[in-house]
Amino acid sequence: MRIVVDLELCQGHAVCQEEAPEVFRVVDRPGAYSRVELIQAGPPEALREKVAAAVHYCPNRVISILDDA
């Protein structure tokens, strides 16, 4: 599983971080919007459920999961 985040639309709510702290971390940036950083862009399958919750509950719908072909 690969994770892609649309950073242009990320508001830094950190809902993803609550759902899957192993994968997402929201960082504050001086003078700019806070936004998410991927701790791992290709997390193990065991985290799929947590990542799916992050995708689902992201207020701005900026996270997608790309499945490996």
């Binding site: 242009e8 639309l9 809902v15 003078g31 701005n60």
Partner: protein
């Protein structure tokens, strides 16, 4: 993000008819911004130019155009200038009364007061308030639910925001002061929010008195110490990135801002939800059964239960499609903006309208019909009741929580019907927030089944 690209023709800019010398379309806009936006789009299509007292505005309609606007940086499409009339309401140094880099941090503080963890506590508070409010309703009765929900949401919001001690002492004054602030936010204030009219002097007096009340609470809090599960506590603990805390006057501004953003938007959405439930009894019965099942499972009004209530969710989504509280979102063009070959030069204002965007028949067939079964839109920017992009409403989840908690509690106990003929419940826009016409009377009766 965008839908399949077809051979789309470049958009053509057309000028809305009926401009008057000097004032342009201002008079018609003033009378009802929602209906004016709709007319502009129906007449001109996806790019409609109109004039508000010498200011050139361009309404852009369509998911791709909306996306392009929401993706543009603040430095190119500024949300600040078009909303300068909020500065005397929220205060200097707050939101658009502050530079972007400060305002962004303040928005972040607002969103930190609305995290999922805190939201669980708010769900309990809202449930308590709703139950307290309806405890004396009895078997049956009749109310004006525009007024009723305005009161109820004032209580739930004040409790979540300022805490239980303040809520217990809440008097009519607090609501009346907010009313004075709201009255000054009208289409007229877009032209000049610093005029000598009485609404503006009342606004300034109300802001000063609110500051006095809120600063009193802040001082009590600071003196008493301790932890409180409310938004005020988040603001007291908040710091800018350099470590500076908010000063008392900034906290006042934050409180007024969040209250302002969440009061009428949520109360009007609740009123519309109730009116549509009464108009569509088949859905109301279904939703009541759905919420019964949640309560039967012993969930109470917890945040978990409030996360997903599919039928109620779809119903509220349709309410927000047809009756979005904010009908226009404005951005001043600071650097020329381009969308599919169309150039909008610096100095003009771009307008996005959730009201119009939600009435595109290709996306929402028979758009004026209330239809909760509509499929969700693929395009993220087709459905925009909370705006979009990095400036999307940070109170989105709180608003839905508020509305859903209210209806879970109400539908468990009561059934509702309209008192007046269905067509007499119309959209009205005496201020910049879309609401129901007055009176908005409904009859309630305790559920038997």
């Amino acid at each position: 993000m965008s839908g399949a690209s077809q051979a789309i023709e470049d958009p053509v800019r057309r000028v809305v008819s009926g401009a008057k010398p000097g004032t342009g379309h201002f008079e018609e806009f003033l009378a009802n911004p929602a209906l004016f936006m709709l007319r502009a789009w129906k007449e001109c299509g996806e790019v409609a130019e109109f004039d508000l007292g010498g200011m050139k505005n361009v309404l852009l309609v369509g998911p791709d155009a909306q996306e392009a606007v929401f993706r543009a940086p603040d430095e190119q499409l500024s949300p600040s200038e078009p909303y300068k009339y909020m500065v005397p309401v929220f205060g200097e140094g707050i939101q658009f009364g502050a530079p972007f880099e400060v305002e962004r941090q303040q928005v972040k503080m607002q969103s930190n007061a609305l995290t999922p963890r805190l939201m669980k506590g708010y769900a309990e508070i809202i449930a308590q308030e709703v139950e307290k409010r309806i405890a004396g309703w009895g078997e049956t009765g009749e109310k004006d639910f525009y007024e009723e929900f305005k009161e109820l949401v004032l209580r739930t919001s004040t409790h979540c925001l300022m805490g239980s001690a303040f809520r217990e002492k809440l008097t009519g004054e607090f609501g009346a002061l907010f009313h004075d602030l709201e009255m000054a936010v009208s289409p007229a204030s877009i032209l000049d929010p610093y005029g000598q009219e009485e609404v503006f002097t009342r606004r300034d007096a109300a802001r000063a008195r609110l500051a006095e009340i809120i600063i009193g609470v802040i001082r009590e809090r600071r003196a008493a110490g301790g932890e409180y599960p409310d938004m005020l506590q988040s603001f007291l603990a908040a710091t800018y990135m350099d470590g500076t805390p908010l000063c008392d006057d900034e906290i006042v501004g934050m409180v007024i801002w969040i209250m302002f953003a969440g009061h009428h938007t949520s109360s009007n959405t609740s009123t519309w939800t109730l009116v549509e439930l009464a108009r569509h009894a088949e859905y109301a019965a279904d939703i009541a059964r759905e919420t019964d099942a949640i309560f039967a499972g012993g969930e109470g009004l917890s945040f978990a239960a409030l996360r997903e209530i599919p039928r109620l969710d779809r119903f509220v989504f349709e309410v927000l499609r047809l009756h979005p509280p904010l009908v226009t979102l404005m951005r001043l063009v600071k650097r020329d903006f381009e969308f599919r070959g169309l150039k909008i030069p610096a100095g003009e204002t771009i307008v996005i309208s959730p009201y119009v965007a939600h009435r595109i028949p290709e996306l929402y067939p028979n758009p004026e019909r209330f239809e909760p079964g509509r499929p969700a839109q693929e395009h993220v920017f087709a459905y925009i009741p909370f705006g979009g992009g990095r400036r999307k409403c940070v109170g989105n989840a709180f608003a839905l929580l508020q509305v859903k908690a209210i209806f879970c509690a109400l539908l468990q106990r009561y059934e509702f019907e309209l008192v007046d003929p269905p067509e007499s419940y119309r959209e009205a826009m005496p201020s910049l927030i879309l609401r129901t016409s007055e009176p908005c009377r409904l009859r309630y009766r305790r559920r038997r089944s």
